[in-house]
């Protein structure tokens, strides 16, 4: 299983809000495919699938915050 992680976005940025998921659990993903989008104050950031597989779970739902380094979802 592989975690989809909220990456470092910049100095002093500790969290981001999940704006939307482009896939639901059970969907098959290609490596690099857009899987969700997170937003900070005035920027949106597209998160891609770190590898091919099935989206196993969504850990941070839309409109919820995730810490940098936190697990947004998992792929198996």
């Amino acid at each position: 299983m592989t975690n989809i992680i909220l990456p470092e976005l910049g100095e002093g940025i500790t969290k981001a809000t999940v704006a939307c998921w482009h896939a639901k659990p059970g969907d098959s993903l290609r490596q690099g495919q857009d899987v969700c989008e997170v937003v900070t104050d005035k920027a949106s950031f597209v998160i891609e699938a770190p590898r091919a597989g099935l989206l196993k779970s969504i850990c941070i739902k839309e409109a919820q915050d995730a810490p940098v380094g936190g697990v947004l979802g998992t792929i198996e």
């Binding site: 470092e8 976005l9 910049g10 100095e11 002093g12 940025i13 809000t17 704006a19 939307c20 989008e37 937003v39 900070t40 104050d41 005035k42 920027a43 949106s44 950031f45 597209v46 891609e48």
Partner: protein
């Protein structure tokens, strides 16, 4: 920041927002595949763009009232709240590959704000960026809005600079969800400011700030 390939400047003129968004996406892909950074300048026909964080209460009128004033509505994949674009507003889309410089959103946003403040200084307008509030202000009024998107650390969206914008259109919204009045270079200078005077100064500021010279 290191040495970079030259910056490609594209002036798209007056272009529909949705069409410009498609063209930006195509450029992001090109830049990801190794093309040099691009700086796009354009204007949009009147449109309200609704970011992911848009609160419905920041639209002060019903959709049909807004459209009756000749203003379209578009949902967009950027952070931030509602923004107005209209002719006379210089819209700037930097398509920059931050993988080549600093992968830091805060540094990038601050650089955009510095570009905006320095541009206005060129026209004798003393502007400031307010900590914690994106955008650029002159006294209590806001003159430039900022909203960015990133895909694999390539930037899109950008700046909206009110040069000669019809400011009455801002009555339709709470711009960016803030209780601020918008202003323009025209209002502050007391006369029309030719777009052709602003564009080269803006390009120069980008080249300086992002080390393309």
């Amino acid at each position: 920041m290191g040495m970079k390939q030259g910056l490609v400047i594209e002036d798209w003129g007056l272009v529909e927002y949705s069409q410009a968004l498609e063209r930006q996406r195509a450029l992001v892909q090109k830049v990801l595949e190794g093309a040099p950074d691009h700086l796009v300048l354009c204007e949009h026909p009147a449109v309200l763009t609704l970011g992911r964080m848009t609160k419905p209460e920041n639209l002060l009128y019903q959709r049909h009232d807004i459209e009756a004033r000749g203003v379209a509505l578009a949902k967009v994949d950027r952070g931030g709240d509602v923004t107005l674009h209209a002719p006379g507003q210089l819209v700037v889309y930097p398509i920059f590959n931050l993988n080549n410089t600093a992968r830091d959103l805060k540094v990038y946003m601050e650089s955009l704000q510095e570009v905006a403040v320095d541009l206005l200084k060129n026209f004798g307008i003393l502007a400031i960026s307010v900590p914690g509030q994106r955008g650029v202000f002159v006294g209590p009024t806001k003159i430039i809005s900022i909203g960015v998107g990133l895909r694999k650390w390539v930037t899109y969206h950008g700046l909206a600079i009110n040069v000669n914008t019809d400011l009455s259109l801002f009555d339709l919204i709470k711009p960016c969800g803030l209780n601020v009045r918008m202003t323009s270079m025209q209002e502050l200078k007391g006369h029309h400011v030719p777009m052709q005077d602003v564009k080269p100064r803006l390009v120069e500021q980008f080249q300086r700030r992002f080390c393309f010279l």
